[in-house]
């Protein structure tokens, strides 16, 4: 059966991953004191769906784990048990185990069977709290002595009867795994459970066969064996029940009917009167619409049913599927990137045409020009929609944080609520993958160093529960992601003292924004106690470096006793940039628009020279260092006089600077080409682009220019 099914594995894997994520999200959002029924149902349904699929596709380990989950969840949603936070923990652990199992079947990684056993035990302990009896949830083998009415509810009577029944199990497993000691231990353990008969059992045999007559449930037998025998090679069959049974009921959802059809004398049948009185995996309701008439022949005969757990661990296979969901298609990222590249080329061609057309007589070529205008609009729309293919909502990253916060908060004994704002904000897929680690680090940092212990918070007049806010929004061509907490805030004195101790160039008059940036220095930590969470000073510098590598910036705002907010500003995409083209001498440069505040033509009296520190310009009462672009790149400008040129006011990393250029040329959307991969890294340049006339224009590394000018002037 499995070979037919392999082609659906991939869909099942994806579906299960989604369901697990959904389950985890619901679990994390669940209020233990007043659980939302909708959530409980959703969690149950997720476990249930995974179980259904796992059973169908023969992933027995997952079926078992989800069955345990489902059993407990069912009791919770029916109100037979109260939800407790330990249960949520156990559910989350179970989710992790299933994730591992899923990865194992997928072929990346291996599940740890010991973890599964531990979680199973935990879950069944919770389940047993309500049932009291030794009834294990996984397999219910019940015998109802009277033949009618067989429509049985799980009443107390039934349960108590079932526990006194004795079942004959046939157990089979390979010998090769066991040494002498383990074998004798196993035998004595099984003997304790009931009457054990060795059918085939000896060192010379390749497989052992045992018959065990016991009043234990199959689950118990299973547990004893699973400790020493690899569950994938273990076969436990129910041979018979010892009580004279007019009919038998097996909850067949647990039991995959053995693949070997010949074992089943009568694999199916129909009931003459009532539903349910069967071991069969399906049946018809006589008298119901369209039921087949030949129900008599198929009447079930007691005693000859044989149901085995199909424990064949089907080999994992990665099979791509042709059955795409109607709402989405799966396309390789290479194809998308190729398309983006081509559209980039198209944009350049369009710009070239536009440039050439600007030189012709608009009256004579009116139609051509209006066509070109149309082309420009269409190209831009096309480019936007192609770029949007790569865009994913940031919730792809955010969704992992509730778990991080929950686990860490309980480890640190802090009470923390995580708020998420703007999780629908879209970001380039490439950035999504890269931003996850830095954000995780920032959140861990907020948790560990930002939010105080509950008693400290209460003493400070704050609520015991701290709040960490994750917020994402678009601003201009950037996406801003903020990690904010209402914790203790950064301590200026401590940071400055630490910086002096480390010999960093600091002074007491530094503005806060610069003091805060010191925490991104390598090896910088003011944490009094180094915990295993954070505080070793490793990481914040890496965070900043990673974000800079993505073309992003980090800013910190903090107030002592009130909290800290770290903002990460990233370009929306790595491929295209909105820029202002400026001319210096005969060269053209692109300045990313996000950094530009304004452009102005200065008057001679606004310019002041500071001896040894270059020139400054007064703009709206503020003195800004002047960066003359021709000096940076050693070019000959049209005029050396500042008041003949144009100042572009830039802001980056909290500093402002005025960049002197000869002319402003125009605003473009440019396709970024890496200078590094085509030439080499150049100081002050972050990339290059091809302009409409085919010339290469360099894209300025604005942030670096601004910061270096600032350092010089200070």
């Amino acid at each position: 059966m499995s070979s037919d099914l392999e082609q659906f594995y991939e869909v099942f894997f994806e579906e299960s991953s989604e369901l697990l994520a959904e389950m985890e999200a619901c679990l994390l959002g669940l209020d233990v004191n007043s659980p939302d029924m909708e959530d409980m149902n959703a969690i149950f349904r997720a476990a249930h769906s995974i179980k259904g699929g796992a059973g169908t596709f023969g992933f027995t380990d997952m079926t078992e784990m989800t069955h345990m989950l489902e059993t407990l969840l069912d009791k919770l949603r029916k109100g037979e048990l109260e939800v407790r936070s330990e249960m949520i923990d156990a559910f989350l652990k179970a989710g992790d185990v299933i994730k591992d199992q899923l990865a194992g079947h997928r072929g990346d990684g291996e599940a740890d069977p010991a973890a599964a056993v531990a979680v199973c035990e935990e879950l069944s302990k919770f389940s047993e709290e309500v049932s009291g009896a030794a009834e294990m949830p996984a397999v219910e083998v019940k015998v109802s002595a009277e033949s009618a009415p067989p429509v049985a509810k799980l009443t107390e009577d039934n349960v108590s009867i079932s526990t006194t029944e004795r079942t004959v199990f046939l157990i089979e497993f390979p010998n090769s795994e066991l040494n002498e000691k383990v074998r004798s231990n196993l035998l004595s353990n099984l003997s304790e459970m009931g009457q054990l008969e060795k059918l085939v059992f000896g060192e010379t045999e390749s497989r052992s066969k045992l018959r065990l007559i016991t009043d234990s449930t199959e689950e118990n037998v299973w547990e004893v064996l699973a400790f020493v025998v690899d569950p994938t090679n273990l076969i436990i069959e129910i041979e018979a029940l010892t009580k004279d049974s007019a009919s038998m009921q097996l909850s067949a959802d647990k039991l995959a009917v053995g693949a070997d059809e010949s074992e089943l004398e009568e694999p199916y049948g129909f009931f003459p009167d009532a539903p349910g009185n069967t071991t069969k995996p399906y049946g018809f309701f006589p008298g119901s619409p369209a039921a087949p008439a030949d129900t008599k022949d198929d009447e079930v005969k007691p005693g000859n049913c044989k149901v085995s757990i199909n424990n064949k661990n089907t080999s994992s296979a990665r099979v791509s599927t042709n059955f795409a969901e109607t709402s989405s298609i799966r396309v390789s990222i290479e194809k998308v990137d190729q398309m983006i590249n081509l559209v980039g080329e198209l944009v350049i061609t369009q710009a070239m045409l536009a440039q050439t057309a600007s030189e012709v007589d608009p009256v004579v070529f009116e139609k051509l020009l209006s066509g070109l205008n149309q082309l420009e609009r269409n190209t831009r729309d096309l480019q936007e929609s192609v770029m949007s293919i790569r865009m994913l909502p940031i919730s792809f990253v955010f969704s992992r944080f509730p778990r991080v916060v929950r686990d860490l908060a309980s480890k640190l004994n802090k009470q923390i609520e995580l708020k998420q704002v703007g999780e629908g904000t879209e970001l380039d897929k490439g950035l999504i993958e890269k931003i996850a680690d830095p954000l995780t680090h920032l959140i861990r940092n907020s948790l560990d160093h930002g939010v105080e212990m509950p008693d400290v918070r209460i003493a400070a007049g704050k609520p015991a529960q701290g709040t960490i806010t994750l917020r994402a929004f678009h601003q201009g061509g950037s996406i801003v992601i903020e990690v904010g907490d209402d914790g203790a805030g950064l301590n200026r004195e401590k940071i400055l003292a630490k910086a002096k101790e480390r010999g960093l160039p600091v002074h007491d008059g530094m503005p806060d924004s610069e003091v805060w940036m010191l925490i991104f220095e390598a090896g910088f930590s003011t944490a009094a106690v180094v915990t295993d969470v954070s505080g070793r000073g490793v990481g914040m510098d890496v965070v900043k470096r990673n974000i800079s590598a993505m073309g992003g910036r980090v800013e910190i705002e903090s107030a002592l006793g009130i909290g800290t907010r770290i903002s990460v500003r990233l370009p929306l995409t790595l491929a295209i940039l909105d820029g202002l083209s400026v001319g210096v001498g005969d060269q053209m440069f692109i300045v990313p628009l996000t950094y530009i505040i304004e452009s102005l033509q200065p008057t001679a009296k606004d310019i002041k020279s500071v001896s040894g520190r270059g020139r400054v310009v007064q703009v709206r009462g503020e003195y800004l260092p002047v960066v003359a672009l021709h000096e940076v790149f050693n070019l000959r400008p049209i005029s050396e006089e500042i008041h003949d040129g144009i100042l572009v006011i830039l802001e980056a990393e909290g500093h402002k600077a005025a960049m002197l250029v000869d002319t402003l040329i125009g605003q473009h959307q440019v396709v970024i080409k890496s200078l590094e991969s085509n030439y080499r890294r150049v100081q002050g340049v972050s990339g290059a682009t091809i302009m409409g006339d085919g010339k290469v224009a360099l894209i300025l590394d604005t942030a670096a220019l601004v910061t270096s000018s600032y350092k010089e002037s200070v």
Binding site: M1, L5, S49, T56, K153, A259, N277, F284, A290, A291
Partner: protein
């Protein structure tokens, strides 16, 4: 003309498996993702058989059964419930709601076709 089957399950992998198996056996298949979806599709298509999961969001299989049986043209259409629910109370509920029969998950494609063959041949 090929017989038409409405396959209702909220799990995409089960749906695909059903569709693949049934189409392979020459049936026409309409998929629905939950009870509500199935009801809409049942209204706009004439089907020979309905296969439905029980536990689904929005509208579960039992509600779907009841709703379908209220429609005049679904009074006698066979409806099989696919279920992993243990215990007979689910079967009893299914019968009450008007199911023709049940098939317990997990099942293999062969078994599925065998059961369907018995009902609509």
């Amino acid at each position: 003309m090929a017989k038409k089957i409405l396959a209702v399950d909220d799990s995409a992998s089960i749906r695909q498996m059903l569709t693949f198996t049934l189409k392979g056996a020459g049936y026409d298949v309409i998929e629905a993702v939950d009870g509500q979806d199935a009801l809409d599709k049942a209204n706009s298509h004439k089907v020979n058989l309905v296969l439905t999961d029980i536990n689904m969001p929005r509208m579960d299989g039992l509600q779907l059964l009841e709703m379908l049986r209220r429609l005049s043209h679904y009074k006698s259409v066979p409806i099989l419930m696919l279920t992993t629910e243990s215990g007979d109370d689910m079967k009893a509920k299914g019968k009450e709601a008007g199911a023709t029969g049940w098939l317990v998950k997990p099942f293999d494609p062969k078994r599925l076709l065998e059961v369907i063959g018995k009902v609509i041949g």
